[in-house]
Symmetry: C2
Subunit: 330 residues, 2 copies
Amino acid sequence: MIIDVHNHIVPEQFPSSAGRAAGKKWPYMEHIEPGKANVMIEGKNFRTVQSGCWAVPRRVAELGNQAVDRQALSPMPQLCDYSLDLKDGSDLAMFLNETILRMIEAAPDRFYGLGSVPLQDVDAAAKMLSKVKSMGLHGVEIVSNIEGVSPGDPRFIPFFKEAASLGLAVFIHAQHPTYMDRLVGHPMLENSIGFPIESALAAASMITGGVIDHAPGLRVLFSHGGGNFLLLLPRLNNAYSGQGPLKGTVKRAPMEYAREFFYDDVLFDNRAVRFLIDMVGVSQVMIGSDYPFMTRKQTADQEFTELKLTAEERELVGSKNALRFLGIGD
Amino acid sequence: MIIDVHNHIVPEQFPSSAGRAAGKKWPYMEHIEPGKANVMIEGKNFRTVQSGCWAVPRRVAELGNQAVDRQALSPMPQLCDYSLDLKDGSDLAMFLNETILRMIEAAPDRFYGLGSVPLQDVDAAAKMLSKVKSMGLHGVEIVSNIEGVSPGDPRFIPFFKEAASLGLAVFIHAQHPTYMDRLVGHPMLENSIGFPIESALAAASMITGGVIDHAPGLRVLFSHGGGNFLLLLPRLNNAYSGQGPLKGTVKRAPMEYAREFFYDDVLFDNRAVRFLIDMVGVSQVMIGSDYPFMTRKQTADQEFTELKLTAEERELVGSKNALRFLGIGD
């Protein structure tokens, strides 16, 4: 069985923006032709998407094309919008949660759910986790910075503690690089250069901010194999040795936390996936796709063969790690 | 033969700051005990350093301890200070160049030199390269951002063109992360988290800004194995395919440029060095140490053995790549 933990949904329609403080920031769908729509945010087309985003029959058919059995659905990250006020942010998060729930109900043997929370308000986000749990979702997605603040900042610890205590998984997805002034060239390089660094900064902050010390047992997934986190990890790990700056501020060596985090395999190069497995262990890596914005260029099986994984390792990366991340089974 | 391309010098004394616009920003040395001094910048101790920074006999002795035969000397990166005005910046760069030259003259069979230029003024920096060349240095060090601007920004192309045309090497060293607000915890994490990302941003910018297209043949070294550049490279490479944002803006796939850049092995984990070699080829990786601020935990030989390098590969990583980077020999 192959479970894809990194893929996204967009609702077919959003509730009306009428009477909302968000005004133009409230998203709406502009359906341009059968099976295709523009996601409109702030009056601009953020992205043209296909109906696999919301239409379960199409999505299920396309799962088959990719040799994937199940998906853990999560919102298109842009929709985790922490710039909205609390009322709008909460409404949008709950609407996404309900959309995901309806998709799961339409094909319960195909989908798990990772919802959304209004992390612009830590207490409200922590509180919504109980609702997420009671809806039967397995966790939530958040993005790699909350209005410019890395998720490992101590202010977010109550949220992560609550997720750990409820046994909900947290998918931290790269978004909104805050150093775009350092990129040279086309603005769309945001994704190729900005996003891997976002994941690195987010993952590092979850260690250096002591989040895992405060929320032991928290299950966290970083998108795109942790971006380029794994190549700063040895140096971060060094900072725990001798008189290093991490000595006395976190409980364990960074490498230990890193080997408890989860990562997808969306690294676009099997040598990078090999390196990831070598660094964090085969028990922490899972299948992802970024569907429907991207589709896998190789099936999981092709990847496993190229990586020379054993039968047992294939099972881990294919599904068992995902079930453990989602908190399913023993 | 083992050549260490990543190590630094600090002068025993700086010229007086009297009459300089720099005022307190002009560095001075506070010798606190025999063989030890504080490098004072803006009235604060930037770093306590040992006399291997300037004293050739000690440095040569410590080369032996590390089983290194030769070093390409470069300034402590903090001293490449582009915030100074042009007069002070030029004077400081030339003083560093002369300091390096004197150290080379004291042990010509031990040292090569990578000097400094006042990159706060692109034309002045380009002009100083002729002087650097006539002094017999083999290149210069610059830092990973010039007052917040990545080195791949088109404004720096005239400088890189001149370096390429003179056959001078350029060592781009991580420094001054511009996203310190994204780090959580101890300020000294700047080095472990900020620096690898600096190298990644600098290397990416050198590709996406089209620098190498304009300065073909330029030989560039990135510190710390390119930091975490190699893990964003596959995604950057993707941006050149299909309708990607790099199509039409650079001449070749990012992977091709990356395989012409040089990298040291200062990655603090042999798995990371292995990944580096797998990605960019054994012809692009060299020995480094960050001496005297750090010393290698393993000799080059120990590393080569663990990496299972062949005799020919050992020669490349040990010295031949360095000679090629420095523009020495055939």
